[in-house]
Symmetry: C2
C-alpha cells in the first residue's frame, strides 16, 4: 500500500539524537513555500518520534520566521524540561544555517479528571448535504483536503463588500486518513486568511505564529478515525498589518478536539 | 521618585550580549513562585531592552516549564531571525542551569493599513459604579492590581454549583502606572483559574503556556496611560487535567489592545 501523501510530506530522516532532515513536498505547496499546516505537523512529528517523549501533545506554538525554500531542511527538537508528568520542547527548522521556524510544545501524561465542554459544535448542514468540495484550489495543498464550507466562503467577487470574518466548514484529508496529532495540527491552519472574507479583498497575507491546544488524547483521535471535522474560525481585530484568528475543530460527534489561534500578517 | 513595584519586579541586570540576571520579587508572589504575568513581562522586558530589537511586540508565547524558585534567575534573549520589518525571538529563563521558562516573541515595524475591530467591548457598569476592588487577595500579587469584577467573581461558597467560566472585570495597576507592552502582557494573566468558577470548586491549577497578541502600538498604549482596562476571559473545554482560556483586554475607550490564550493544568 502506498503511503498517504500527508505521511510522505511530514517524513523525517534521523540524523542523530534530536536531529532530522526533511524535505518540502510539492503536494502541499502554498503560494510561496509549503502550507503552514504541514510545517507545523512536521515540527510536531519530530517531537512525536523522539525516543525521550513523555506523554501526548497538549500545546504547540509554531513561529514562521521566513518562508521555507523548496527542498531540504534541518530540524532539531529537544526536551528542555522533563517533569513528572509534563515535558517542554524546543524545536527549530533551519535551511542553510538560517532559522526558518521556531516552535515550542508541551507534552503530558493526562489523567482522568472532572471535565466539561462548554463550547458546543455549531448546528449546521451535514457534509453530504453541502455536497461537493467548495473551496477553490488556488494552491496545491487545498487539493489534499476535502473542504465543504457551510458559511463564510472565499468571496466570488472581490468588491470590498465583506461584513464579517467567520467561516464554518467541514474538512478531512483527501483521500481520507485516520486522524492523529500531526494531521490535527495541520488542519488547524486550513482556514483561508480572514482578511479576504472580512474585506472581500484579496491582499497578500501569511501566518506568522500559530498555537494549537489539543483537548483529547490518542484514544479519542482514534475514535474519530477518518471522519469529518467541523471547523470554525474568525478574527477579532485587523489593524496595522496584523490580525488574529481563533478557531475550533470538533469531531462530527461534537467533541471539541482542538482550539487554535494565530496572528497573521496582511498587506495594505 | 521611587520606582513602581512593577518596574522593580521586571528589572534585569545586563550580563553581556543577550544575557541578564533577574530576581523574583516578593511583591508579585503567587501561591508557589512568582505571578505568571510578571514572569511573562520580564521575558518580554529582555526583548524590549535588547539593542538589536526591531519594532514592537506583536506576539509572545511563554511556557512555564517549572515554578520559579524565589531568588535569582538567568535570562537569555536572542533574535533568531531578522527580516525587513519582522524579527523572531527566543527567550529562556534558567535557575541553577535548569530551564524554568521558554518563550518566543515576534516584534515588527507596523505600517498603517486598512483595519477593523469586530470584537466590541462588552457594555458594563463603570469601575466607579462597581465601587471597591472585589477580588480577594489570597496571594500577594493580587494586591498589585485594582480589580473590579463585573461578572464571574471567585465563588464565595465552594459548593460545586458553577455553570459557566466567564469573568468580566476592570483592572489597572495599583498604584496606577502608565500602560506599556510589559504591563499589558502581565495583565493578560490576571484572570483567576476558570476551573474555580466553572466548578465552584477550588482545585490546584497553574498556567503551562500563555500566548499574547498585541493589537496596538506604543502610541495607542500611551493614549491609554494609567487608565482602566476591561478584561474578559472564558474557557471552552476542561478535560483530563487541562483547560483552555481565551481572553481580551480593551481600553476604557473600547479599543481591543490584546487578545490572549492560555492552557492551564488542573488537578482532579
Amino acid at each position: 500500500m502506498e503511503a498517504h501523501l500527508f505521511d510522505r510530506a511530514i517524513a523525517l530522516a534521523p540524523q542523530g539524537p534530536g536531529r532530522w532532515l526533511g524535505r518540502t513536498d510539492p503536494a502541499y505547496a502554498n503560494m510561496v513555500g509549503p502550507y503552514g499546516g504541514i510545517t507545523a505537523a512536521t515540527a510536531l512529528h519530530a517531537v512525536w518520534q523522539h525516543p525521550e517523549r513523555l506523554g501526548e501533545p497538549v500545546s504547540l506554538t509554531v513561529n514562521y520566521c521566513a518562508a521555507l525554500a523548496d527542498g531540504g531542511f534541518e530540524l532539531q527538537a529537544r526536551p528542555v524540561r522533563t517533569n513528572r508528568s509534563t515535558q517542554h520542547w524546543l524545536i527549530e527548522i533551519t535551511q542553510g544555517g538560517e532559522t526558518v521556524l521556531t516552535a515550542t510544545a508541551l507534552t503530558a501524561v493526562r489523567r482522568e479528571t472532572w471535565g466539561s465542554q462548554d463550547e458546543p459544535a455549531p448546528r449546521v448542514l451535514s457534509p453530504n448535504a453541502i455536497g461537493r468540495p467548495n473551496m477553490a484550489g488556488l494552491v496545491e495543498w487545498v487539493r489534499r483536503y476535502d473542504i465543504r464550507i457551510v458559511e463564510g466562503a472565499i468571496p466570488r467577487v472581490w468588491d470590498g463588500s465583506g461584513e464579517h470574518s467567520r467561516s464554518t466548514l467541514w474538512v478531512r484529508d483527501e483521500p481520507p486518513r485516520a486522524l492523529d496529532f500531526m494531521s490535527l495540527a495541520a488542519l488547524c491552519d486550513v482556514f483561508f486568511p480572514r482578511v479576504w472574507l472580512r474585506r472581500a479583498t484579496r491582499v497578500p497575507a501569511g501566518t506568522v505564529s500559530m498555537t494549537v491546544y489539543f483537548h483529547v488524547g490518542q484514544a479519542e483521535l482514534a475514535a474519530v478515525g477518518d471522519g469529518w471535522l467541523l471547523g470554525q474560525a474568525q478574527a477579532s481585530v485587523m489593524r496595522n498589518g496584523y490580525f488574529d484568528q481563533r478557531g475550533q475543530l470538533w469531531s462530527q460527534a461534537g467533541a471539541l478536539l482542538a482550539t487554535t489561534h494565530q496572528v497573521v500578517y496582511y498587506k495594505e
